[in-house]
């Protein structure tokens, strides 16, 4: 049974964003944080509306985590914070992917439930960090999706792959996810393939980030005619491995030339 989360109406999103623009310090937003907004709506059916207590608990746990990373003062070790927050959000929200794909749900979290945390993580945030413009950039939404795409419930630590890639590289996968048609299975295997290349020394001497991006470019070229989603795990890993190796050798060749 999935939990339905409030979605913030668009007019309200812009109004709140403008209102908070003049805020000097995130601490000022603590008083604006709330579990309720008159302009929040729910999808008509399909789950149980989240209880205010639960929203409250969620915000409280996020703040506890934030405090460990400097909140309400300047954020420290943000990479570590993001990974921990990805686990927390994905592990506790019980939100269906289709709900989590609603940018207005995330806007509710960043503008109503925890504006203080959002503004603390991204002081003077550009709109896409806190509004409903781009889920791949959203302070909270992108982390939930990051966890959704890599988690594997058969592992002792389902979120172990969260740390394989740095934020910037993951953002690349994330941004191109739709283009390469990546299901969570593909993203997860992509990360595993990359890690095993790295572990076996195949990436020594190449600019890893450049190689990774080159692999994504290669993938974008093959997906018009290769259906990765149709493949069994073994075949999928083999194709991803082939593509990754091609990208790495292309980089090596370019370096030589």
């Amino acid at each position: 049974m999935s939990v339905l989360y409030p979605r913030l109406l668009r007019g309200r999103i812009d109004a709140l964003f403008e209102e908070y623009a003049s805020v000097v310090s995130p601490a000022e937003l603590t008083v604006r944080a709330s579990v309720h907004d008159d302009a929040a709506v729910y999808v008509a059916t399909g789950g149980t509306r989240v209880l205010p207590d639960r929203l409250d608990d969620l915000a409280a746990s996020v703040r506890v985590l934030a405090r460990q990373h400097g909140y309400p003062y300047a954020a420290t070790r943000t990479t570590e914070f993001d990974v921990a927050l990805a686990r927390l959000l994905h592990g506790t929200m019980d939100i269906a992917p289709a709900e989590a794909a609603s940018r207005e749900v995330w806007a509710f979290l960043s503008l109503v439930l925890m504006p203080d945390v959002a503004w603390w993580r991204y002081p003077n945030p550009p709109g896409d960090r806190v509004k409903n413009t781009d889920i791949t950039r959203h302070v909270f939404g992108r982390l939930w999706w990051r966890a959704e795409l890599v988690h594997d419930t058969t592992l002792a630590d389902p979120y172990e792959a969260l740390t394989v890639l740095g934020e910037a590289d993951f953002d690349q996968v994330y941004a191109r996810r739709a283009q390469i048609g990546a299901s969570p299975k593909i993203v997860r295997n992509l990360l595993l393939v990359w890690r095993s290349l790295r572990d076996s020394g195949e990436l020594n001497g190449v600019n890893e980030r450049e190689a990774f991006r080159s692999m994504l470019t290669q993938l974008r070229r093959v997906v018009p005619f290769l259906s990765l989603n149709a493949l069994d795990d073994d075949a999928l890993v083999a194709e991803l491995d082939r593509t990754a190796r091609q990208a790495v050798s292309a980089i090596r060749a370019a370096d030589l030339a």
Binding site: M1, R7, T30, V31, A33, S34, V35, H36, D38, V41, V43, A44, T45, G46, G47, T48, R49, L51, P52, D56, A59, A100, A101, S102, R103, E104, L113, M114, D116, I135, G141, W145, R177, A178, Q179, I180, G181, T217, R220, R221, V222, V223, P224, F225
Partner: protein, 643 residues
Amino acid sequence: MTDTPFSFAPARPRPAWESQQYPPEGASAAEGIRSQLGRPALDLLTVLVREAAQNSWDARTDEAGVDVHFGLDLYTVGAAHANTWRALLLEGCPRNAEHFPLRTSLGRNSIRVLAVSDRGTKGLGGPTRADAVTDGPRDFVTFVRNVGEPRDTQLGGGTYGFGKGIFFMLSRAHTVLIHTRTRHQGRLQTRLIGSALAHSYTESVVGRGEARYTGRHWWGMVSEGLVEPLVDAEADEMAERLGLAPFGADETGTTVVVVDPEIDEDLGSPGDVGDYLAETILWQLWPKMLPRVDGRPAMTFHVTVDGQDHPVPDPALTHPVQMFVEAYRRMNGPESRQLASGRPKRLLGVLGLHDTFVLPWTLTRAAESAGFDDTLVHHVCLMRSAELVVTYAKGVKPQAELKGYAGVFRVDPSMDEVFARAEPPTHDAWNADSLPPDERRYVKAVTRRLTEAQQEISGLRVVVGSEGREMALGAASNYFSDLVRGSSGFGGRHAAFESRTRDDNDPRTTGRTLASRPGRTQAPAHAIAAQTLPRVRVEYVGDPFHTHHHDRPALVQEFKLTGEATVRLDARLSIATSIDATGRDRDGTDQPQPLGWVTPDGTTILGPSALVRNDGHGTWRLLVRPTEDTMTVVEIEAEAVRP
């Protein structure tokens, strides 16, 4: 001065009473002033605690490190002092006890007083005469002389000076002693004066026949017909003789001694009265006991009865007041909700709600005075910016026996004045009807919003502990959709990722052609050329097919050209990217290469572009070298040119 009522009395060395005669232009009768508070709904002691504490709060010095302290001491004047009281405090007063009930009070075996004191406050400062003009404080005049003067304290608790009436109402002698220490003209000054607000009366005066008196009397040093307070050493000495607690060296503040207070006998023993006072402070003033930012409480309190201390319970530990403390915390935290009026849209204030199981508790007199009739807690504590309890507004009853909720609502500073005007002199309610019509709506809106919030909290309980059933309700939802016409459903427009659904012409569905993109549908001749040159259009014949060229894989795209003209042909090739094959890679070094063109008569022209003569008949071919393992996108442009 001969016409003033006091002119006949020569200055006397000892303090004495002076009674106010009606001046020719009239004055307020004492009864009228006493009753300015109206007939309070609350009992007198509760009103006194609220009013006095508000006045004390408003009078705070706000000096760093100085706490506002508020105390109530109920005691019997000791035998040693009682004689002084009887000797000095009847000096110069009317003979008739009906006109001056202090006579009766002091005639009793024991003299009972309630000393209401504050420290860390400014004391009653400023000039002592009402006619003195000053830019500074006028607290003394306001309290001792004037009647119902508006206060100017910003966002203060007691908006009118009516509150002092309660001291005189509570006193059966209608008499108080005012002992204050204040900063005056650069130094600390102690002042002591008596004041009575009894009954107006008529009395014969030697040589003048009948005279009418207002019932207002002052006790102090008469100077130029005006009663001035005892000051400095004189005041200290007198206070000592009367057994009043002295001020510390640097201390400022005020003690109002209510003579012969009327205490309801139902309250029981003096000890019970002490508990009642302590609990009344708890219920009525708990917001002032909470720690401020620096961790110190805003105000401290003490209650003694006959020297016995009655500690004021800690609100954070005392049930059920602690529920309100928690609601207060939520009101100031992220769980707060803002209540706003609809038309016009104005922020009214913030609400904190706390719902929980209510532990069993005993309904005390003080709780009853605060508006609780049983041990159910379903109240919202209303306050203005000063954070003094206005009242506990009862709401929707809790849905289960042991459930309850407490709320705290605080008016937004921008609305403070409106709500202040809606309060009666006792500050214990918001009456919309006492406001002009355009402001009534705000008070009404608060009532409504509170009810909504309370209903919501009851409503929310509805879902607690009950998991929704996994049942597809889309159809049912549609059945009822006519009742929410105009609201948006949710769907594709919430898609997180740009979704490019494939066109009907998707080659993978039809095996034919990719969607043409808007704005790029054709390769039209340039506008200028169009005037003189014919239009040439490319019509593809089928999809590209595979072949070999010089033993390597190649693609062939067949096409026809319309229009007789000399035509320039250009091949634009790219690699399709992304799962919908809608992306284009044109940048790589490994792009597909146009090998050349074959004319309808079989002539081969090498290179990416060609200048040819078209007669409008026959099939042309473009030959392409594809890039391995990529999907090739072919686009042919044709343009008529001058031969």
